[in-house]
Symmetry: C2
Subunit: 456 residues, 2 copies
């Protein structure tokens, strides 16, 4: 068989589980040897068990000598590090002539490496997880097909959500954390949401974001709601849709989530920019009261109801109660915490997946196009449930495309050099095909064109 | 008489008018020679007219050689530059052993110079304009007196506003720009408002700031509203009020202003963090519509009313109409403008002072204290109207204390070395006394203690 081909996987967190398992499953047939490197040796060892085609190593990513040694010995490198840490790995990969795969957005600094990557004929494949990743591939496959058939794209909307599966859904929010809770708490901050509808540019500030949802329907699973992502506009260029009249990307939640979440936004509980006073001794009730006007005897409850106009019979109220937001005995017990950190703690007590809980990924694309003078629409959706708390839908949908792309680059099936994202046929066709074999399947249907002009 | 004492004034903008005039008026008696330096020679010349005791010079503040030469030749330096530009001047002042005066907040970098300033026995007096400035002095005078009489401070609230005088008030907002319009448009952004009420810390996010006003009363001038400034908490230490139970600093507007301004906040029109698309061709109506949901035929008007729940008979609506926010013929006509820049332009068309308009400064302090087991309260207020469009109330209240402090440092009446703010008796007593002679007078009265505990 010759020498084994060595794959270095940096970062063995939750998102790496399915990715490592896939490569282990392929290791005999493909003659692979995996090196799983993490800050925590335990974590790395847990992921590979006692498999013979893999070793776990402890790696401090700041240790340049060790990092470089590992990269130098490998044939290809997967970085599952937080996005901000990819760059040093990327530079080392250029130094030693190794291709690289990440599930993260291409940073400007990563993009700047494009020429050097091309000069060494390497493939740096990024944004090949779920979102970004499967969204790019599944959208581009249909967009390219519509164009190839002579259609002209006029509308593209795309939504993704990481949710809890219906069978594990036992709270009023119909939501649990299936990914980094911090990202959920601060979601939507740092800039207005930007998109275009029927040729009109639209902007939603953070303070209105959770009140501008639209209802989505997924066959067999009922209604969901979509809320706008930060910047939908830049995808016009990336997807080759510069002349498109409607371009909207969003996040999926169960119906009613966003309107209740807006309570946190309006109170100021999602703010991560300052530390509150006395957070060690603060009760959950104190925390809530911090954002309400002072009154010598009115209750926190009546002040909040009045402040945010929450009627006696509004289900939002029960959602707040469920979180113990008015509990005077539960303590925050954190030093110098921001509102967002405290909210994350409060939510985590209720929204953490139990051992038997399953997560669920939902993705929905809407493609509007003109063909032979007629307006048409295709909807394409994917709904994946997790197997267990390790092999979650999130882990599968993020990790499998990363693993598949890695192997295909190693095997010379994906060859286009440079800093890439998976929007070309050479990449998305074989990976979407293999994802289908793993049960990650899009349902496609034609629907009447529902572009906005038809309302009049 | 001996050689004239040279005062260098860097920056000859609006805020320097009264300051320069005061020093010109004193120049014979005090044997002064003024050097007024500005980017614009015209502006500097305009301020000194043809007075014999002053010259105007053109200065590029980045021209180190020229800047240093001017500082070296002077006996004391006043910097009326934007706050960010003080530092180079300050360093040169240390180099050549000159004292310095500014109306700006002490930056951390300025504070870091304290030891060097003390080592050279110089006075760097900052925050000696209106707000900060007169607020510090007038508050500390009463706080020190209450303490000296054996009182214990339990409440301090302080409000300042730059408004239009009633006789020049001809719009529904009861507001015109009397200072930098940009600061008005972005006011309150960049962090939650923080204060303490009856021992309870309170935080207001930007999205609720303009709905958390309180009503203020100024004898003879009726009702105003106060809204919280960013950080009231840090003044506890500065004013020596560490154990105080209520500490609140705010901005004054005419009643109803904030609730209407909240429309801009909720729409996202005050956002200065991104550039909108197509702002060259955009009409005011397009601008407003950018922040509203798309609809093929519903009007911008009905969408806005519905979105923000503005009733048919709500005066807020007339305030919006007055600004031409729904005008489809008026063009923004700016390249790559942010929402805040566009809003500033729209507002400036209506809110700019006319040649005969007068501005007005309002300041109100509330001091609650315990004396001999009794709770007492003092209210102290100041209301100043401008003389004309050059000698505005803003120019007087910012410039006169700066000028007075400069002369008193020059004359050895203010001597405490270091990076200072005007919170000690040596500074505030003589300056408040002289301000009274110029008509800047506080009205003080005892009122029943209205601390919040008394509500119950």
């Amino acid at each position: 068989m010759g020498a084994k081909r060595q794959i270095l996987i940096i970062g063995a967190g939750r998102s790496a589980t399915s990715l490592i398992q896939y490569l282990l499953d392929q290791s005999e047939k493909e003659n692979l040897h995996l090196v799983v490197a993490d800050m925590s040796l335990d974590l790395a060892q847990n992921k590979i068990k006692n498999q013979s085609n893999a070793i776990a190593v402890k790696l401090d990513i700041k240790d340049t000598a060790q990092r470089r040694e590992l990269i130098k010995q490998s044939d290809i490198v997967i970085s599952m590090l937080p996005a901000a840490l990819h760059l040093e790995v990327a530079k080392d990969c250029i130094l030693y002539g190794k291709s690289m795969v990440t599930a993260s957005y291409v940073s400007p600094e990563m993009q700047d490496l494009d020429e050097q990557v091309k000069a060494k004929n390497l493939v740096f494949m990024n944004e090949i997880g779920l979102d970004p990743g499967i969204d790019h591939m599944s959208a581009m496959q249909i967009i390219d097909r519509i164009k190839a058939n002579g259609g002209k794209m006029i509308l593209f909307e795309s939504f993704t959500g990481g949710l809890v599966a219906p069978e594990s859904d036992d709270n009023l929010w119909n939501y649990k954390f299936t990914w980094n809770p911090r990202n959920v708490v601060v979601a939507g901050q740092g800039g207005a949401a930007k998109f275009i509808q029927e040729g009109t540019y639209k902007y939603i500030p953070y303070q209105k974001l959770f009140r501008r949802t639209e209802i989505l329907n997924i066959d067999g699973y009922g209604k969901f709601e979509g809320l706008a992502n930060r910047d939908s506009l830049k995808y016009r260029e990336i997807y080759g849709l510069d002349a498109i009249k409607t371009m909207y990307r969003g996040t999926i939640r169960r119906v009613g989530y966003s309107k209740a979440w807006n309570v946190f936004v309006q109170l100021g509980m999602t703010d991560d920019t300052y530390e509150m006073e006395n957070t060690k001794e603060m009760s959950y009730r104190d925390f809530t009261n911090s954002f309400l006007p002072y009154h010598p005897y009115d209750s926190v409850e009546i002040k909040l109801r009045h402040y945010l106009h929450i009627d006696q019979d509004d289900i939002i109220w029960d959602k707040l109660l469920e979180l113990d937001l008015f509990d005077a005995t539960k303590k925050v017990n954190m030093e110098q915490a921001t509102p967002a950190q405290i909210l994350e703690k409060i939510l985590s007590e209720k929204w953490t997946l139990k051992p038997d809980d399953k997560d669920m990924i939902v993705m929905l694309h809407k493609f509007g196009y003109e063909l032979n003078g007629e307006n048409k629409q295709i909807e394409s959706s994917m709904l994946i449930k997790g197997k267990d708390q390790h092999f979650t839908a999130m882990s599968d949908t993020v990790g499998l495309p990363v693993a598949m792309a890695t192997l295909k680059i190693l095997n010379g099936e994906i060859t286009k050099p440079g800093v890439q994202i998976p929007i070309i046929k050479e990449v998305y066709e074989p990976i979407l095909k293999e994802l289908r074999e793993h049960g990650i399947i899009f349902q496609e249907k034609e629907v009447p064109y529902l572009g906005y002009k038809s309302m009049s």
